[in-house]
Symmetry: C2
Subunit: 198 residues, 2 copies
């Protein structure tokens, strides 16, 4: 059996990542969504080990200092990160893993695991992303400005990704992500076993 | 508009290439099948410029010596090759090109055009390829032995390809090739335009 592959997806807030990922998971059941660890408070309805692994700061720092995290970052006073052990266990079982993380974390993953496949989700244009954020009408103008500033920075990181998928109709976007997964699993280096004489 | 991409497919005789390619072309109309040039005799029903570009040895050698061929080879006394000009014209128009050529030609293309995408079509196993060739029952034993010998050599070249697709049910095989085409067109280097601010 072939080992699983590690896929990382990033994209600015509002680009439509969650919808596309849900459709990809529906069409490709061998993909497991990685659960992150965090030190933030558990919210009502969240389940430990499903929504997040909820850790104390001490537990998180211990894992981080022991090199047990594939990537980690701090946002508004809370730690977020990806424990490596469950990822490795799934990959060994032949299950493909999908991480939905920010560019800083994605670059950490790429440095630690050069075989990871990085996918950036972009709007048809940056102007279109701006229109989408404004058009939703549920976000305060100062929040929109902040998100655009963040998106602008995220876009500067995108050329370091392996692929850029286009956030368009959900089927088209999911189709591009599924094609990338299928193609990556056809890489010659992963299919040497087909060439062996029995 | 983005430029087209150049795809090369190879695979041993009997592996099911033509059927898979026909299905790929049906599902992906932006793909143009490249017409080869040859010095062999035109057979009944063949059309110049459609089946092949039929050239005299002198015409072929002139093209070859002028560096107008993307790849070329000689089989049983006849020349075969791919004129580069029509390929370049189509790529400039944004049309993707598919070449169905032997490994020797594929390696020439890769050396000349490192951006070409090389796909090798393999049977589920080498033993299965042998079973398929024998099982057809329409090939003389000495011809089968020759084809297997050739296939064995072709398999040694496959690790130099970018991808290896599995010749299985036609929809599965065509699906893998279509995924490779879609994924290659999502490569970050080809999608920089999505990141520009208007």
């Amino acid at each position: 059996m072939s080992k699983g592959k590690l896929f990382v997806i990033s994209g600015p807030s509002g680009v439509g990542k969650s919808t596309a990922i849900a459709e990809v998971m529906r069409q490709y059941p061998n993909l497991r969504f990685s659960v992150s660890a965090t030190t933030r408070e558990k919210r009502p309805g969240e389940v430990d080990g499903v929504s997040y692994f909820f850790l104390s700061r001490e537990e998180f720092e211990k894992k981080r200092d022991n090199g047990e995290l594939l990537e980690h970052a701090e946002y508004v006073g809370n730690y977020y990160g990806t424990p490596e052990a469950p990822v490795n266990a799934a990959l060994e079982e032949g299950i493909d893993i999908l991480l939905d993380i920010e560019p800083v974390g994605a670059m950490q993953v790429k440095a630690r695991r050069p075989d990871a496949v990085l996918v950036f989700m972009a709007a048809p244009s940056f102007a279109e992303l701006e229109r989408r954020l404004v058009g939703r009408g549920d976000t305060a103008p100062d929040k929109i400005a902040k998100r655009l500033e963040k998106a602008r920075w995220e876009y500067t990181q995108a050329p370091q990704y392996d692929y850029i998928v286009l956030s368009d109709k959900v089927q088209t976007t999911a189709g591009e992500i599924l094609s990338i997964i299928t193609a990556e699993k056809c890489k010659a280096s992963d299919r040497r076993h087909l060439l062996e004489e029995e």
